[in-house]
């Protein structure tokens, strides 16, 4: 009975294990940093995690559909440079919101380019998005060759310090993401997504518009990457064409820690969102556990590997018992 329910949880709710991990991480973090749930600490953490959360959510959609998007970092950079150059350090809020829309458009366009090559020309996702990542970062460098510029501090502060009902802005964003996902998940498109990721051939024979579904996932990822770009820009307040580059691989790790399989068709978006937070918390744990600085990188990487291995280890142990 117990065994059954465990498998049930693991199979039916991919986010289950991710949440388990998060809880563990939170507890450890709380022991090391007792004030971590104080409003300001919570807010200052969440506002830092938010860009990665948005990025991971988009990445998850692509991965569910059986693809992968190495170019999200480049899209983040484009958005960041657009805002930093067009709005400027003393631009008006109106200007800001206009260019937020513009840059979201840019993100969607970039996603559409990926989608075009992968869905319509049927190129292999990894290498295609790797190639476009050069296009996108290159373009970002073209917009803003040298770091600098940025957005007005007061606008950045909206992002940094808005805490409705004492809860960090990020919580509301996450809530919205999850609600939208839960809706999509239970629409036809949701089913198409899982069908295409699970067995594209069969989906096609069943008259699922496979090409469009794949195309859409990359557009979605481009859109979310753009939001991530807006978030990181409001967090840093400044422009830097390389800003997104280090974020790509982390987003993929977050998705997998979130229990969404890279093989496609299994998992969801909630898990990856949780996974992104967990990664951030792990960083906190490292920092507050005051381990020798020379060991930090090693310990952090090891923790992540162990987190990835945990489900497999548990399965093995339970095999043995049976």
């Amino acid at each position: 009975m117990k065994r059954f329910s465990w498998d049930e949880m693991m199979n039916r709710y991919p986010a289950f294990f991710a949440i388990l991990l998060l809880v563990v991480a939170l507890i450890i973090n709380f022991i090391l940093q007792p004030n971590m749930f104080a409003r300001d600490t919570l807010n200052s953490n969440m506002r830092v995690f938010l860009p990665m959360i948005l990025l991971a959510a988009g990445q998850a959609v692509v991965i569910l559909g059986g693809g992968i998007d190495i170019s999200v970092g480049g899209i983040v950079s484009i958005v960041n440079t657009i805002l930093a150059t067009q709005v400027g350090l003393n631009g008006s809020p109106e200007k800001m919101w206009t260019y937020v829309l513009v840059s979201i458009g840019a993100g969607i366009l970039a996603g559409a380019i990926n989608g075009f090559f992968i869905a319509f020309l049927r190129l292999q996702p990894i290498i295609t998005t790797y190639a476009t990542s050069f296009l996108y970062v290159g373009f970002a460098l073209f917009i803003l060759p040298n770091p600098g510029g940025g957005i007005p501090a007061e606008i950045a502060n909206i992002y940094r310090n808005t805490t409705p009902l004492g809860l960090p802005l990020a919580f509301y964003v996450i809530a919205v993401i999850l609600l939208i996902w839960m809706y999509i998940r239970s629409t036809r498109f949701g089913n198409y997504l899982y069908a295409v990721g699970g067995n594209a051939e069969a989906a096609y024979e069943t008259a699922v518009p496979v090409t469009w579904v794949i195309f859409t996932t990359y557009v979605a990822s481009g859109f979310m990457a753009a939001l991530a770009g807006v978030a990181i820009t409001m967090l840093s307040g400044s422009g830097n064409a390389e800003i997104g580059v280090p974020m790509t691989l982390t987003s993929i790790t977050a998705v997998v820690i979130g229990g969404t399989a890279l093989s496609g068709g299994v998992g969801g978006v909630a898990g990856p969102v949780v996974g992104a937070i967990t990664l951030g918390i792990i960083q906190n744990i490292i920092s507050f556990s005051r381990i020798d600085t020379w060991w930090e990188t090693f310990v952090k990487a090891t923790i992540i590997v162990v987190a990835l291995a945990a489900p497999g280890i548990i399965n093995l142990l339970r095999r043995k018992k049976v």
């Binding site: 992968i68 090559f117 020309l121 049927r122 190129l123 292999q124 990894i126 290498i127 295609t128 790797y130 190639a131 476009t132 990542s133 050069f134 296009l135 996108y136 970062v137 290159g138 373009f139 970002a140 460098l141 073209f142 060759p145 594209a200 051939e201 096609y204 496979v210 090409t211 064409a241 691989l249 993929i252 790790t253 997998v256 399989a261 890279l262 093989s263 020379w294 060991w295 930090e296 990188t297 090693f298 310990v299 952090k300 990487a301 090891t302 992540i304 590997v305 990835l308 291995a309 489900p311 497999g312 280890i313 399965n315 093995l316």
Partner: protein
């Protein structure tokens, strides 16, 4: 969708030659002086050697299928380069020892990757990505990244110098050709190679035909690690110095080289000749862009575009509707 029937390696090489000849007529090209052209050509191939060798392991794991990929190659290169550097201490008779250590350490790391992937069912992408972090962590711990050592004269002579003053063919190229032949033996003329392709296509069939999928899987990741180790050994012989960022720049190009070489990223189909061709094409393009006057932004966009074109030529997957 009809697909070009010309074999990828050939296509890649043809492309390389065409690009090379065309580039002769570009400003700062080397079309005007035949000697310069030859020098440039040999130089490009020489530089391709290191990428090519590091991409060898990548080729194997990608052929082994199930999203096989090795993102730890870069950091393994760095680690083994450092180990070689500190072992040899400028003495020729320590070189063999250093080589063995490089291979062994590489193999060990690859083996751990293999364990995680085959038994804990961790997706190769994140397993090797995590391992890359762990290895970097180790490098930081080793003398805080500051190491003392020296490459042996014989290494420099065998790797970085030409065959002889009057025969301007760099030894590295000779080594590469022999290496390529051995890779061919491994893939096309050995039982292991045949089993490797088999598990890349269908692991159930492979098992029911007596292939030990687990062992083959473990072996291929260990071998890939060892080859990355060999790459590190060669690279340090060329640079003559080590540093923490030594290997990373080779990582994604090594994957690109495999793809450009026409190996299916989904596994089960490919060749090392193709990867060699791919390495040359990539090095060629970057070299051409170097000697051409254009801002970094344009340079990256051109690189991205060229990659896209190349994979569009033969990186196409089968369409659903035939």
């Amino acid at each position: 969708m009809r697909r070009i029937s010309i074999s990828p390696p050939v296509a890649a090489i043809l492309l390389a030659i065409v690009l090379f000849l065309l580039s002769g007529f570009l400003p700062n090209g080397f079309g005007n002086d035949i000697n310069v052209a030859i020098a440039q050509a040999t130089n490009i191939v020489r530089l391709a050697v290191f990428l090519g060798v590091i991409a060898a392991g990548q080729t194997l794991v990608i052929i082994s299928g199930f999203e096989g990929i090795d993102l730890s190659a870069g950091s393994v290169v760095t680690l083994t380069a450092i180990l070689t550097y500190v072992t040899v201490k400028g003495e020729d008779d320590k070189v063999l020892l250093a080589l063995l250590i490089s291979l062994a350490v590489g193999a060990l790391i690859g083996f751990i990757n293999g364990l995680g992937i085959t038994f804990l069912k961790i997706s190769p992408f994140v397993m090797t990505l995590g391992m890359s972090g762990v290895v970097t962590g180790l490098i930081i711990i080793i003398n805080h990244g500051n190491v003392s050592g020296k490459v042996a004269p014989i290494m420099t002579r065998l790797i970085a110098r030409p065959l002889s003053p009057d025969i301007p063919i760099p030894n590295a190229i000779i080594i590469w050709i022999i290496f390529g032949f051995m890779m061919w033996l491994l893939l096309e003329r050995s039982t292991f190679g045949k089993h490797l392709f088999a598990i890349g296509v269908n692991r159930v069939t492979a098992k029911l035909s007596g292939v030990n999928v687990t062992v083959t899987n473990l072996a291929v990741y260990s071998l890939a690690g060892a080859l990355a180790g060999f790459g590190g050994f060669l690279v340090v012989g060329n640079t003559g110095v080590v540093f923490i960022a030594l290997g990373q720049p080779f990582l994604f190009p090594s994957i690109a080289a495999v793809a450009v070489g026409g190996t299916l990223l989904s596994g089960g189909k490919g060749s090392y000749w193709g990867t060699m061709a791919g390495a040359i094409v990539l090095t060629l393009i970057t070299s051409l862009l170097t000697t051409m006057q254009m801002p970094d932004s344009v340079r990256r966009m051109v690189l991205g575009a060229t990659l896209l074109v190349m994979i569009s030529i033969y990186g196409r997957q089968r369409g659903f509707r035939q």
